[in-house]
């Protein structure tokens, strides 16, 4: 190494360089301090704003189940693929491959991306199977992300479609119980913070801001087994009679719970491509119609309550028609002298009119109102029709007469079923319900037990030999019920000659009522149109199945009832004959 020689310095130069270096260093240091301390909050915020994202955690929607816990509506996990069009250049990515994995046409995918070119978000495909969505993500296309969502699935499909209702694509209730109990069912979405890279991929999860809160399950009063049988029978009857539609409601008498409620036409809530808005209507609750002869038992109840009539009281219905205020009330034929029992069994309009005119309209109207006509049933079902029960200060005789046999008022099938359930419960009205554990008003008495039971007893004659409802007979059980055949209003201020509604309302088993129900067939276009021919057989078949499912012991004579402990005698069916 070369020995250093003291040299004459250049002090000015050294000072200048030192000052320059120190200034530069000081500037840098200051910049560091400035960035690290003074601007820290701002810069951190800016950084976070570019990478930290708040992501929603979807809340799971509650299930709707039947009374035994069978699912009627469940939310299943699906994946929706979305893209940020500003990151997704249709010319750079393998669009064909992406389209194939999305099961879309390449052209429609391209159009979709280009249509949303200026935006930062577009759904490419919603509600895919999670496994299929994973295959899409494996392509690793920049700007394409997946979002987890839930889709409603209805295991019972069209069988319970009307009761359950539907949700929209964002899982919000639109119809039926899905809408009525939206608050209970809907989950509250949570939120989480994540760090994302420029392509929108989650790099790191920071923290959960709010945990997702799942919605509560909703238990309905429907028994899916009975619902299924009811649906099947109603559907085949509507098809067989080429009817416009139909409804069936079945109520558990001891509790007032609705065990089955079906309508035709129905729809498949899992596949809505062929769905029409009209199919969505739960006619049993939303459509009222004139109840016709099915209200006659209540006119009779009003007459018995006066104490002036007795089931055996005779009335003259000759000659089978009578003039009231210039209009004619007709029977099918001249029945002559009939007692009240037979007036119901034959469904004599003349006989009922004589009763009603004698006791006056107010008494009839009062009984109708007490069994629930003209007022809401309180099920909370959206779009419920309360029907119409006229109240007048002055009644013309013809108005009294028509009211007594079920015209000039309107009721939904559910209201008719409710009225029969009240009769079946010995005159105690229990509010009907569609949802379990829904606190309703306490039951209250609207009719004397004696009168309710007498009317019920008389209704048994309807289904026996000589009555109008013999086809409602259920093998092994005693059936009390009433037929109804109503002319439909033709829209021109009159009644249509050849447009009917066939009905049957009844109670089984008559000796210890368990089920009350009504079958309504709207506009049968076949040769048969009477309630006793069209609706009664449907009633019989559905009730037969329901009684068997519910293990209700048969009450008709000829059944084998064995006490526990005694030997049941094994016999085959041939030996019985």
């Amino acid at each position: 190494m070369k020995e250093r020689q003291p040299e004459p310095g250049y002090p000015m130069r050294l000072a200048l360089v030192s000052v320059c270096l120190c200034t530069a260093l000081g500037t840098l240091l200051w910049r560091v301090v400035d960035l690290q301390i003074n601007d820290r909050a701002f810069l951190q915020g800016q950084g976070d704003a570019r990478v930290v994202r708040t992501e929603p955690i979807p809340g799971h929607r509650g299930m709707i189940v039947d009374r035994r816990g069978e699912p009627l509506a469940v939310s299943i996990t699906v994946a929706s693929i979305w893209a940020d069009p500003s990151l997704l250049d249709p010319d750079e990515v393998p669009l064909g491959e992406l389209a194939a994995s999305l099961e879309m046409a390449e052209e429609s995918l391209r159009e979709r991306v280009q249509a949303f070119a200026g935006k930062r978000f577009v759904y490419l495909r919603r509600h895919m199977q999670p496994a299929a969505a994973e295959r899409v993500m494996e392509l690793g296309v920049p700007g394409v992300s997946v979002r987890r969502e839930y889709r409603r699935f209805y295991p019972a499909a069209e069988v319970a479609a009307h009761v359950v209702g539907i949700t929209d694509i964002d899982d919000r209730g639109q119809e039926g119980l899905e809408l009525a109990y939206e608050q209970v069912l809907a989950g509250t979405p949570g939120a989480k913070q994540v760090v994302k890279d420029r392509r929108g991929r989650v790099v790191r999860r920071l923290r959960t801001l709010r945990a997702a809160d799942p919605g509560q399950d909703l238990q309905t009063t429907i028994d899916l087994r009975i619902q299924y049988f009811a649906y099947r029978e109603l559907k085949s009857a509507v098809r067989q009679h080429r009817a416009r539609g139909g409804s069936m409601v079945l109520i558990d008498v001891p509790t007032g719970e609705i065990l089955a409620m079906v309508n035709q036409p129905s729809f498949n809530p899992n596949d809505r491509r062929d769905m029409k808005v009209a199919y969505l209507r739960n006619r049993a609750i939303t459509d009222s119609l004139e109840p016709g002869s099915t209200v006659k038992p209540f006119t009779v109840a009003a007459a018995l309550a006066t104490g002036r009539y007795h089931p055996a009281t005779l009335l003259n219905t000759s000659p089978g028609h009578m003039r009231v205020d210039g209009k004619t009330v007709r029977d099918h034929r001249d029945y002559g002298m009939l007692d009240i029992r037979d007036i119901l069994a034959k469904s004599s309009n003349v006989g009922i009119t004589r009763l009603a005119l004698d006791i006056g309209p107010q008494r009839v109207r009062e009984v109708f109102g007490q069994v629930g006509f003209g007022e809401s049933t309180g099920t909370g079902y959206p779009g419920e029709d309360s029907g119409m029960l006229p109240s007048r200060r002055k009644w013309k005789d013809i108005q009294t007469a028509t009211l007594s046999f079920g015209y000039g008022l309107s009721a939904t099938p559910l209201q008719i079923a409710q009225a029969y359930a009240t009769l079946a419960a010995g005159g105690v009205r229990r509010p009907v319900s569609l949802v379990r554990a829904a606190a309703g008003p306490e039951p209250w008495r609207v009719m004397e037990v004696k009168i309710a039971n007498r009317v019920l007893g008389m209704l048994e004659n309807v289904t026996e030999e000589g009555g109008t409802g013999t086809r409602a007979g259920v093998s092994g059980y005693r059936v009390a019920g009433k037929t109804g055949t109503v002319h439909k209003v033709d829209g021109k201020g009159g009644y249509a000659e050849d447009d009917y509604v066939a009905m049957f309302a009844g109670v089984v088993p008559a000796s210890r009522p368990r089920l009350a129900g009504v079958v309504v067939i709207d506009g049968p276009r076949g040769e048969k149109y009477y309630g006793g021919e069209v609706a009664a057989p449907v009633f019989a078949r559905i009730m037969g199945d329901a009684l068997r499912i519910l293990n209700v012991p048969p009450d008709a004579a000829g059944n084998r009832l064995v006490r526990r402990g005694t030997e049941p005698v094994a016999r085959d069916k041939n030996a019985d004959a």
């Binding site: 012991p553 048969p554 000829g558 084998r560 006490r563 049941p568």
Partner: protein, 88 residues
Amino acid sequence: MAPILGLGVLLGAVCATAVSVVETAHHGRELANRLELLEDQADRYRMEWDKLLLEQGAWSGHGRISDIAGRRLDMEAPDPFEIVTIRQ
């Protein structure tokens, strides 16, 4: 000596807390990872359950059951008169 000792203790404490901060952060990250794993697992179970529910819906549809019972197994609903009812 005393001030130097005090400084040494403080230095040691600073080092210890620094290490424990790192340790806690690491532990927190581990737990977060675990949470994420468990949540993913819960998700997978949930999806599996959804799939099974769909399958059950398809296999146990009432229409299918009654079809099999009636056609393939030749079963029929008994007439009430064929049923012996036992009263308790």
